[in-house]
Symmetry: C2
Subunit: 343 residues, 2 copies
């Protein structure tokens, strides 16, 4: 099956901005969406129908559920919702790779935890060090650099690192059905945002190319950054080894309010870390979609245990069932997982 990525379509360029009532129907009529299946990688089913129904109702002028263009805010978790998050968050892989790359300048790390475990690839010992150990790894690997140096390192890693199972760049492991959904929402003048526990400066260098989501529409965790005027009169922003904000769980609605300042009408996640974002979205008035991706495809992606340490889906699952949120079963609702399956 060969299909053009919708992200490359001209209609994707209409995100943001205010209404252009006279122009817009023309653009839509000439777009791919008006001519066929707007979500070709999605099987017909309740999830696909509820999404298409929502878009139709909220964007039809004069309808009861119509949403003004500036209020068309759609938020997506990243890890496990837009791209794969197994066997561990890709930003953690990046941090471990960074520690190894930096080890030559830190001989003391050979005996100092959590670095010893990282350098020895001792994942059992590392897991035993818990969240504190992981935050130390991330802090050490993400600080002492200017924002521009860090960006270059991220872009280099994204270009060269390979996923251990799929042997492909991590950015190949984005979900084709979600790329189609992002493009469809933008064609109907929704502004698409990432709202991720991942770091702002780990995601922003590549989200525009990969998802069509520009850096200013990426909400995420952050470390403290400091303005420094160098002796040569050139200012830099230096990344410090101090956590500033964790955009996860109850932090997600806080992050949405902080960065966007509006309540979304559409939100998708895949784990308990997305529960409060979905609750915050649900609590607004009018039509809205709250959705969860359920990882059920052991062959083509991963099938998670509900208690999976990465992507645990327990409390949010109960609430989704109780409140009839959209649950996307990857195996049954999606025809393909990754864009490379189309080639």
């Amino acid at each position: 099956m060969k299909r053009r990525s919708l992200l490359a379509g001209s209609a994707a360029g209409l995100a943001g901005g205010l209404a252009l009532p006279a122009l817009f129907p023309l653009v839509l009529a000439s777009s791919a969406f008006a001519q066929g299946d707007a979500l070709p990688s999605w099987n017909d089913g309740p999830s696909k129908r509820s999404i298409l129904d929502f878009i139709a109702r909220t964007t039809t002028g004069g309808g009861r559920d119509w949403v003004p263009v500036p209020e068309r805010i759609a938020c997506f978790d990243n890890d496990g919702t837009l791209w794969t998050e197994q066997p561990m968050y890709f930003q953690v892989v990046f941090a471990l790779d960074r520690i190894k790359a930096m080890a030559g300048r830190h001989p003391e790390w050979r005996t100092q935890e959590p670095f010893r475990s990282v350098l020895a690839d001792d994942h059992t010992a590392l897991a035993a060090l818990g969240e504190k150990g992981m935050l130390d790894v991330i802090a050490a690997s993400h600080s002492g650099l200017s924002t521009e140096q860090f960006r270059a390192i991220v872009l280099d890693w994204i270009a060269t690192a390979r996923h251990p199972r799929f042997k492909r760049p991590y950015t190949d492991l984005v979900y084709q059905p979600m790329l189609e959904l992002l493009a469809l929402l933008r064609a109907y003048q929704f502004k698409t945002f990432i709202v991720s526990g991942g770091g702002l400066e780990f995601m922003r260098p590549w989200t525009e190319r990969v998802y069509g989501i520009p850096p200013e529409q990426v909400v995420g965790s952050s470390g403290v950054t400091k303005f420094v005027m160098k002796p040569d009169g050139v200012p830099v922003l230096m990344k410090e080894a101090k956590v500033e904000f964790i955009d996860d769980g109850p932090g997600k609605p806080v992050g949405i309010n902080h960065f966007i300042g509006r309540r979304p009408v559409f939100a998708f996640g895949n784990s308990d870390g997305d529960q409060q974002m979905l609750e915050w979205t649900a609590a607004g008035a009018g039509a809205r979609v709250m959705g969860l991706v359920q990882h059920t495809h052991a062959v083509r992606e991963y099938a998670y245990d509900p208690e999976s340490p990465v992507g645990r889906l327990d409390k949010a699952w109960d609430e989704a069932v109780r409140r009839k949120w959209a649950v996307v079963d990857m195996k049954n609702d999606w025809k393909v997982i990754y864009p490379f399956e189309l080639k």
Copy 2:
């Protein structure tokens, strides 16, 4: 002199989004900008010419200075750059009004500083309490509320409060030449941002209506906000009495990096608090504009002393002169100050 506000023009609606190369020339050709003076409230002079020249050079396809649409980021300080800031920051007036409105529930404030001075309109005593006193006033007046309650209070104040000298709503005191500049930049697909020392949640309720700048393009100072699930199952975000981030001075480039994640190519301020934002903008490669508004019109606005406690322009002025940044002399460069002068 009667002139339609450019903010109402259809071309203003094109902000954001990616390039639409085929459509865009048509839109521009039909806009007001192509047919006459794009900045009608600006006198001809070096500032106006440098702005128009920059826009022409950066948006002409194939030119050496062309800037891709996603990189067209323009940042504006608010107080003293987009609207008046005398005799004191309007958010401070709002905070003082709030303290008075809340005083009935706080009998202890009659003897407790800084509240005693606020309630007695004792501005001398208040000034003597310094920045700490003012932060206490802002913290007390901006916390203990949900974000939605606070938004309603801001909108009510904006609708009813009157400036002591002009006897008009504070939002009438925006600068007509800057409204024209914002609209012109947006017509050429620049994304316009506010980058202000003011509070996010004080500005966002009205910036879209007044400036055409949506909440997600407002960068500002913030207090800590907390997600709370109420007993009735409805979540709220509560504003706490704790400063989170001050978007001023060296905080401005930090805020730009945090919220936008790109370096601006165009930035305007009016005081020393904008110096680092202008330095950060200047340090990028390629064509760019750094500008300062100088308050010189004692009759129609205010003429500041360089050491003015509000809007001090001392170090940034020296740097502007040395580095040949655009300096807009309000009296000589602008034909009108406020939109109501056109009616």
